[in-house]
Structure formats: C-alpha cells, structure tokens
Symmetry: C5
Subunit: 311 residues, 5 copies
C-alpha cells in the first residue's frame, strides 16, 4: 500500500528518528479503517489494572477475557490495541500480525495509598519487541512530586525504544500536590502537559479533553492579554494541538468514563473540529456489548474520516 | 508421558512464552499425583523465615530439617516444593530430579517493624537455575506504599526468569496502609490482586480464599448493579478465576493457618467447586505428623482429581 | 577558516581536553556573526518546558513551532541554539549543519510542587551525538538540598560527554532552602555559583547578572576588608569572571525576562564592559516579532564585537 | 591431609555448592588446632572500626598493630582470622598462606547516630580474592527497619562469593526498633536470627549466646505448649542449632565483652555441651597479654576437642 | 634516584597493593624538598569550592588563577598538589610531570543547607588517570547520618583506584548529628576517624590536629584507666599515629584556617615531635603573598626534615 501524502507529511516531522521507528509509525498510521488519513483511533485496555477487574469488566463480562479486546480492535478497524504485559501476552501469538500492538509499560492500581502519584514500571522495551509491538506506552503525572522519577524513567525507556525502532506514546495526565482537582483538566495545564510529553521525546501524545478552567495565575494573564480563544472545546483542542509543537507531534484525546453514545459522538465531533489527530477510547468501547461497541467505533472513525474544515 | 488435552489447553494460554518456559510449565503440571489433570497441589515452606523457626516447626520438630520437606513433597505426590534459598540449597542435590522445585525469591520476617510491607529479595534467577528449579516465586503486597518497589523488582525478575525458561509464580497478598484488615481478604480486593499479578506477567497466581466483604465503594456499586454472585466461597472462587484473565491464567489458593482436617477438606471442596486450579498447602501439611500429612494431602488431591461440575 | 589568536588563547585554557571536545569548542566559537572574536551569543529555548507553552509562546505564536527557533538562530548569526530533546528533534535533520546545537539535558516544569529544586534528566549524551550537537547543557541549583544529586548526575554526564568529544555548558542558578530570594542573584552567591560550575568541569558557565546584595556573612567580611569593587554591574561581572578561574573558563550571562529593547542593550553594554564572554538570550529574542528579534540580536552582537576597554 | 569423616559429613550438607566453595570450607575446617574435628575457633578483630581504637586496643597496646592479630591467630592455632579491609591488607602478603583469612565486608562505627542500624559495605568479594581469603563475613541486624537493605546487599554478595568459590559467614545480630534491649539476645529471637542467616545462604552462622528471655508473644505460646527446654544455656544452644536447619549449617557463638578467664571457659563448656560448632572470640583474646591469650585459646580448643556427650 | 631505606620501610606496610600503586606511592614520597625522608607536605586547594571564591582568594587575588597553585606547589617543593576536577584540568597539561597531582573526588559547598553532611562526588578515577594524577582524594564525615553513603562510595572508588594503580588519600573529618562541636576535634574522635579511614583502605590519612577533649564516655574510661598521655599536642599526635595501624599507615595533619607564621610553625613542631608523617597546608600557603608562602613552606619542610627525637 502506498503511503499517502498526509502520512508523508506527518513523517516529515519525525525526520530525526531512525527508519525502524518511522516504519512502525507508518504501521500505526496505515492500519485499520483510518489507514492513510493521518487520523488514529486506538483501543486501550489497562483498566483491569488501573481500576480493578469488576469495575472494568463487570458491565460486560466477556471483556474479562484478554482475547476479547484483540478481536474487538481487529474487527472495529482500530489503528492499534494497547494493554499491559499480562493481558497482551495472552493473545499476542494468537492474533500475531492482525493489529498493531502497544505495550503499556507502566501501571497503577487503586489499592495503595500513594502520596505523590507514580505508576510502577511493569514491562520492558524488550518485552514489547518480543511480543511484536509497534510502540510502547507510558503514563506521566505532571504535577506530582514524583515528577523527576517518572520523567527520568521515561527518558531511559524512550532512548531504548527509539534505538530499537519502536514508537513512543505518552499518556500525560496532570495530577498531584501541585494541582487542584479542577486543575487536572484545565486548559493551561493540559496544553502544558502536552508540551512536556512532546519535549520528553514522545512521538504520540495522549491527553484528556481540557476544560475552560485556567489553573495558573501567570498563564491566565497571558490568555487574557492576547485574547487566546478557549471558550469552546474545539478551540481548546486547537490550542492544545498548537502547544504540541505547533501540530508537529501527533496528539490524541481520551474519552474518559463510559457515557451515552450521543455524548461520546458530540465530544468526538468537537475534537475533530479542533484538529485532534484522533481518539483513544477504552471504557466507552469495551464496556458496551460488542455490537454496540463496533457501531460506536465505526461512527467515531467516520467523524475523523469525514471532511472537517478545522483540519 | 504424553501431554493430556487439558494440559495442552492450558499451554495454549501461554503461547507467547518461549519453549523453555512451556517445558517447565509442563514439568509442573505433569508431576505427581495430579499429573495431567491441570490441577496442582504445591508444598510451600517459607514459614521458618516468615514466622520464625519455633512457631513453624515446634509442633513437628522433624520439620526443622529441610530434607524433611523434600521427602514429604515427593512422597505425597505434590506437583512441586517451594522454599527460600537456604533450605532449598540443603536438599537440592540430594533430591535432584525427584520433585519440581520453586525458589521463593523474596521473604519477610516478623522481627522488624516496617511501615509499609515489603519483602526482601533473598535469591536470584540464576540461583533458581543453579539449583535445578522449574520456577521462581515472588510475593507482592498490593495495598502497600512500597507497591512500585515490589512491582518493579518483580518486573525485572520476571523478564529474566522468562528469558531463561523458568515459570513465574506470584503470591499476591493485599496488605498495607491502603487497606483495612478485613479488606486484605475482601472479594473485590482478592480479585483485584489476582488481576494485578496476572498483568505483571505471572504464569501462576496464588491468592487467599476471599471473604464476602467488599472493601472499595466503587467496586461495591458494580457488584450490586450487576448482581454478581459472591455469597458462597465457591461463587467467590469462580469470580476470582474470572478476574484472572477469564481463567486463562492458573490461579491457586492457600490454606492459611493450621486447622482441623475436616475444615481443610471442606474448604478445598469449595475451592474445587469454584474452579480453582489447585491449592498451595504449607502449615496444614508440615505441622501435622508425617503420616497424617500424607493422608490429608492425598485427600485434597482426590478432591481436585474427582469429578467437579464447576470446572 | 583560520582560528584567530583570541580563539587559540581560549583553547589554551582547555588543554587537558581531547581533540574532539576542542573541535566542538572551535565550532561554537567560530560560528555566526561573532565567529573568531571569542564572544558568544546563544539562543536558548527551553521555556516551553520550564514555564509552559502559553507563557512562552503566547506573545509570538509563530514560536510554538520548533523550526521557528532554528531559523531565528541561523538568520541572526547566533553561535548556537539550545533546546530540550523534543523540540530539538523536530528540526535537527531539517537544519542539519546550519547552526551548532546544544541539547539541554535536564528540565523542570512549574506544575509540581518540589521541596528542594531539582530538574529531571530528559535526554542523554548519546541523544546529543545522534542529533549532531556540539554540546550538552545542564542546569544546577546550588543552594538546593538536592545539590549532591544534581552535581553527581552532572559529573557522570560530563565524564561521558567529554569522552565523546562534546562541550559541556552548565546553567548555574542558585536556589533552594539555603538561600533567601535576594540571595539567588547576590554577587557573592553568583560568583560562588560560577566557581562551582567551573570546578564541576563545565567548559562554559552561564549565570545571571548579579545584584550588589551580599548573602553570606563570611563573604561580606572579605568584600569589606579588601574593598572589592562591586558597585556597578560591570564591576560585578568582572568579579564573576575572576571567580571563574580568573577568566580561564568562558562565562556568559542570561538576560532574564522579556523587557524593553533599551533596557536589554544597556544591560548588555555593562556585561561587555565587565568582560563577559557573551550572552544567552531567550525570551528577549523569541517573544519579539521576528524582525525585531533579528535587529536586537544584531545590536547585541555589535556591542560584543565593538571595542570594549574592559576586555 | 585426609579429610575426616566428620568433615565429610559436614560437607554433605553443602552439596549444592560448587567445588571451589567446598574447598575453602575444608580449608577452614582443616586448619589449626581443631583441624578435622568439625569444630572451629575463629579470631575476629573488627573492634577498632566498631568501637574505636582506644576502647579496643588501649588495654593491650601491642594490638594496635594489625600484624599482631595475624601472629596471634597463627600461633594459637585458630581456624581463621577475620578483619576489615584495611587491617587485613597490612599483613595479608606478610603472612600469606599461614592462616585462613575472612574479609569482613561491612562495618559500623559508634560516632554516628543512625536511626535504624545498618552497617556500611567496606570491601568487596574481589578484595577477598585479591587478599587470598577463604571467606567473606557480613553482619545483618534482623529487627532493623533497614532489614531489606541489608538482606539484599548480602544476597548479592553471597551470589558473587559463591560463584567465585568463597565461603559466606553471616554475623546475625538482632537489633533495631522491632526489638526490646532484652529481646536482642532472647532465645526465640536468637533462634530466628540463625534461621534467617541460614535461609539467606550463609554457610556459617554466628550468633550470640541466647538468654532465657522470650520476646515474641506468638513464639512464647509455642515454647510453652510444647514444653521446649530452654532453661540452661546448653539447652538453648541445642535449640539454636536445631533452628539452624536441624544442625545442617555450621553455627558458632561469640564471646561478647572481655571477662574473667573462668567465666569464659564456663560459657564455652555450655556452648560445647549444647552442640555448638565452635566459638568466635575477639576481645577476650586480643585484649589479654599475648601469653594469657594463647593459654585461653588453647583451653577453649581443648573443650571443643574433648569428648562432649552433647555433640 | 634510589629509594631510601625509610621509603622502603613505608612501602613494606603496603605489601598487598599492586606495583602500580606502590609506584605512585614512591612518586609521592620521592618528590620535592622532602623526597626520600618519608615526610610529606601537600598543597591542597579546594577552598574555592568548599568556602566560595571570595573567602578563599580575596586575600590574595593571584590565587583565583588555578595555574598559580601549580606553580606554588612546584616552586615550594611540595610533595603534591591536590584540587578538584575543574581547576586541576586548567593546568594539568601545562604543568604535566612537574609535580604529583591528587584529584579531589568529592566536594561540598556552603550554599545549601544539608541535614547530615555529605559531599558530592565531582570526579572519577578515570579523570584522575586522564589528568596524570598519582592519587585520588576523598572526604568522609564520620559522625554523619550519611556515613554509610560516603563509606560505600569510597569503598567503590578505592577498589577502582587501587586496581588502576592509584594511591588513595582520605580526608577524615568527624562531623554530623552524632557529635558535639567540640567533639569534632576531640582526641578520641580524631583517633577513631583515623582508624576508620585506614580500615576503609586509605593509603594516606588526613585528619585535623586533635584537642585534649574526649567526646565518648566509654572511651574516656579507657584513657583514664590506662593513663594514656594526651596532655600535649605531640602526645596526641603520637596517639593518633598509633591508632592508625600502629604507624603502619601514613597519617598527616591539616593546618586549618589562616593564622600567624609563628603559630603555624609552633604547631608543625608539635606535629613533627609527635611523629606526624607531614602536613597538608592550604589557606596558610595560598592566602599569603607568594614570597611569604614559599618561605613558610620551606620552614615547615625544614622542621620535618630536621632531627626530631620523636620520630
């Protein structure tokens, strides 16, 4: 399959990476229903680890089975499937070559009280290679007092992943004693979190859709002085894309907790209008019955594929 | 000896492991009285380290001798014998090849006051190879503030063990400031602990039989909303097996402190009815006189071997 | 291009370095509008990471694009461009060979509350080599309780960088519980910070223009007893140059926050009069419209190039 | 010299060790006045480090000289001489081959206030090899909050020492916030400390002679329920030997602070009666004038050599 | 130049070191005005780092220049010149082969508030080799809660330095929460500090001249019981020499802060009378005008060279 002009353009922003990494970036961008469009929809399933099994899979018990998610990602035409070491290991051989895989390299649970949030590293770059993955995933919590620990671990994993031809995807979730609860999704903080992930060397950045709240006083002055538009979600998405190296790094948005189909699609339309490169959609996909999930994912992909004046 | 269909089915869930690890998994499943059934009974003896010598072996002084346990595991037809470095070293050459061995790689004692529970690493993967073991064992305490430390050490040991063809067995014991005392064996917490161990890459997961208590508010809502059955121990075991990758990882249960023979067997019947892959039985075995212990273990194996509609 | 006598003189102070490092030092000194003069003006852009995107680039949105800064550094004739891993990666191939690059190896953000200031290491010496850089940059915070951590990380990075032929540039910014706010730019503290950076092995030291405040009682006695002149900025610069191995290490000064053109140039005249080896100018360059920035940088370079009796 | 049956029996308990380690074990057991008996008397001199020079050597100033101790160990027919890196280095070449040497790999001093006791590692396994030693020595403090740190360092040193053919001797001294002062030498704690050392892989365990005090409630119940005899020192020694893998690891006892000759010999008679494998005697040896020390050590060895019904 | 009998005698105490280290020890002992006498006077200049530039060099501004100290050490006939990485790098090539060099491998500054004193490692053994040094220098603070950290870093540096043929010199300065201010120079503490340094493997130990104060109760009893003479400085020096392996390790004394010439010489006479192997003299040398410094150093060397009954 020939690489489209849009994908070539995206590749041009990553020109300091080696051919191995570029190859895996193409594999991500050229797989599934959105292949070649420069848009991505990814299925991530780390909620069993992050929230516990019953909260994650109680609503749709078929989803207790790791193989369920492989098949859902394949059948829905997602660009990739992301999961931690254990569940990825169950199906990696069975579904080898059918969908690009992302090994989520760090994870947290809700059983322990941890003062300053920090996930544990639960897999290695070599595990990702061994399992046939195209990318590693890693979560940082900007705002945490454990910031340096996380950034430095990511630095080392990124160095190794790039040298071995993998793509690096960073989940950037502000949280910790430096931030209020509202601040975790504030527009200034979300834009900042996207910048940090990109500066740390991420090829693909994942953040949450930002609210209109502004957390930092110094930032507020600048938004006001230069009248930067952040009233609508689409405007805020555009601002975050700009903050991610002026759009020269792929930035995608998560959907958050399960909600109604209309709400999901309305939000995705705003994301697309703001120039998002795509969505990463977990609970809204796997907590629905399979048929509903396939329909929803198809509709989401349609929105990203369709003509969007904001691109 | 030909590999049975059931063992082949179990192996199919581990298809991303290398042949060395699969070989050792077969050695575990195809040894002893339960060989080929897909069920396991393991003799673990780390109580000398964990509780001290007199509490462990005072009731049956023959058990002060490490060789006693090798012989007990062999004569009872256990699938394997698990112990820390020191005591395993005493008999490893003497009993070479007579029973699969598991090197317990971390241990704790009751002499020190430790704020957040965390065992010390007391052996290495290369020790396990040197002593002829088929597997390593490692204890995690989900709920401890030292969670990341333990998960990351396990991550590294797991990576090394798998690359050297060993099986990884994780004791997952929730404990620490994140949990109430009742929460340590709560059904939601036990299921969560099994998921975590599986996600960390364990081939075999060991948890305690769960109570009907639910520790986490968010989890409680889900159990109630979806009316998930957890009233009987068999139901709870079935839930834990489901939480362990829908039964695609071997999960076994410990027996806890020494108790009457009837109580032990009643509990094991529930475990078997719930679909447990087996038991790991320490104090209830080695603190009884040898003849009684052999009888009890034989009865336990009978329960697992016999027809159980819940499997 | 022949190496000038002044550059040869500077090289003589680095005679224990290997030819690879000397070569990169010449590349820095012999590039741009000040080539061969022994003076340097460097464009640093790490504010996206350090202060967040909107505070950094809101005033001049073209600057959200990492390529903007490469072009600005090239067109203005700066000796070098310094940035963190992510943004340097965007343009390193595009602009290969057009301007000496400095990889900023550690960075901090303003989202987290950190007790004792310490930046995270966000890149490696091998990244610098891979991206074609001539130097690494590293920030220390003398006065922080994390001092040893930073000095020791720098020690190791310096050792590696020198062995691989790179130049080492240290940003020495006193801060932390050991110092008052005024003390962070005190003359005694600034001179001390320059000494520390030089002792740690820096080839080029970057400090802030010092105030006339004296922070340490013991130091105050010496300034008074020996009547050391520190009344004017030029005198203080001369003192800092003296404290930097009697002028045998290149020491340059930052411009601080954005301010009026007259104020910038007035300060630079004092720096030059005091014998500064040059300036490192970020916000005052990239937050201005491009044409104004080019004009300002040209004026700054003129001051350094022009006859200055204090040299 | 032929290996005696008793030494062969002892070697049989170490059958998983490599021939290099077995060789050094024989060197220890077959040197000096007790060669071939399976009993050991070792001269340890780390008190200069642990208690300071004047408290250690003020009573007998000749002992300031490290060579003094080599000669004393040789002339008295001790099985081995143990000391830290510095003092062992002074005489290792001079006295090469005249007495088996043990390099004490960690040490503490009394100058610092340390919350949770933990010695510093002050030498390496390669130092032991370089100096011609047969064994390494290492102190653990079970009961300390630094337990994991010490056990894990020992784990690594043990792994390396064994792979290089050395014997591992562990000083197991309970102490720290988990224990009362009386608890440090309690019978339950001492037996537990011996078990821990053996489980960590020690070939030879050194503990203090235990008192009749019982520290842990749970242990007390077991001593009482099973009427385990611990009234006399000989009974307690027998219990500790039992707790050390039922006598399948060599366990020896220290003499503690300097005391009268009669008191020393009375205690050693109890140790021997209880089945101790020997003594490690420092201050009671080197703080006496040389002639007295030689006499005392000869008497101690006579007790161990002579017929003892308890062996 | 033939090695004198005295130097041969000193070498005999280091017989377990390899020829490379012995060679560098001879280079130290056989250089300068005291060559062959077995006495040493060393010029150390780390005060720029430790106390800041103005306090160190304000009194004699020529000393801001690192080359000044090389020339002073050469012209005065010192046995060696010691300095941190940065300033040693300036002149190492210029003055190559003219004076033995010591790379000071750790350093502290007075800008930060550090709870428990601990210097940062600021150079490496390979830096020492690269710069042509004969020795490394390292400071420990016995009495600090960071004791283990420092001792273990030194252990590793010592191992590496010895394996590469370098001499190890330890500055042993008691300080930290375990000690009173007076205790830092107490006779018992100073003797203890010298022992610790020697036990850690130092070839040359540097301590401060001790006061008659006794810090530790347990030590006081011994001084009194055995009537150990510590009334005069010469007696105390003799005691410290005895505590340093009975004189079988070279121990030298620092001069402390700048003072009058008479006071310096009076102190040195006591040091020499007590059997000190020499002096290490920084501020009293480089803070004087060069001519005065040369005169003072010559007088000091005369004292050490001249007949002293106490040797």
């Amino acid at each position: 399959m020939a690489v489209t002009d849009r994908v070539k353009q995206i590749l041009s922003w990553y020109s300091s990476e080696n051919p191995g990494t570029l190859t895996n970036l193409v594999r991500l961008l050229d797989h599934g229903a959105l292949a070649g469009t420069g848009k991505l929809v990814i299925l991530p399933v780390d909620q069993g680890f992050e929230h516990g099994p019953v909260r994650s899979f109680g609503p749709n018990p078929d989803a207790y089975d790791p193989d369920y998610h492989f098949q859902l990602a394949i059948d829905s035409g997602c660009n990739a499937y992301a999961a931690p070491l254990g569940s990825l290991s169950v199906g990696a051989a069975t579904f080898a070559g059918q969908v690009p895989l992302i090994l989520k390299l760090n994870n947290s649970d809700t059983l322990a009280k941890i003062d300053q949030p920090c996930s544990a590293i639960t897999g290695s770059v070599d595990d990702a290679l061994r399992l046939g993955c195209v990318a590693i995933g890693y979560t940082i919590y900007p705002g945490s007092g454990q910031r340096n620990h996380m950034y430095e671990d990511l630095k080392e994993l990124t160095r190794e992943a790039k040298s071995k031809g993998l793509v690096v995807i960073v989940w950037s979730y502000p949280r910790g004693s430096g931030l209020s609860k509202a601040g975790e999704t504030a527009i200034d903080v979300t834009a900042y979190a996207a910048t940090i992930a990109a500066q740390l060397g991420a090829h693909i950045v994942k953040v949450k859709p930002p609210s209109a709240h502004i957390e930092q006083e110094e930032a507020k002055k600048v938004y006001e002085k230069y009248q930067i538009p952040i009233a609508t979600l689409a405007e805020r998405i555009r601002h975050v894309v700009q903050a991610t190296f002026n759009g020269k790094r792929v930035v995608i948005f998560s959907g958050g907790e399960a909600k109604g189909t209309d709400a999901v699609l309305a939000e995705v339309r705003e994301l697309a209008a703001g120039g998002s490169f795509g969505s990463i959609m977990g609970r809204n996909a796997f907590q629905r019955p399979r048929a509903e999930a396939l329909k929803l994912l198809a509709d989401v992909m349609d929105i990203y594929r369709g003509p969007a004046e904001a691109r």
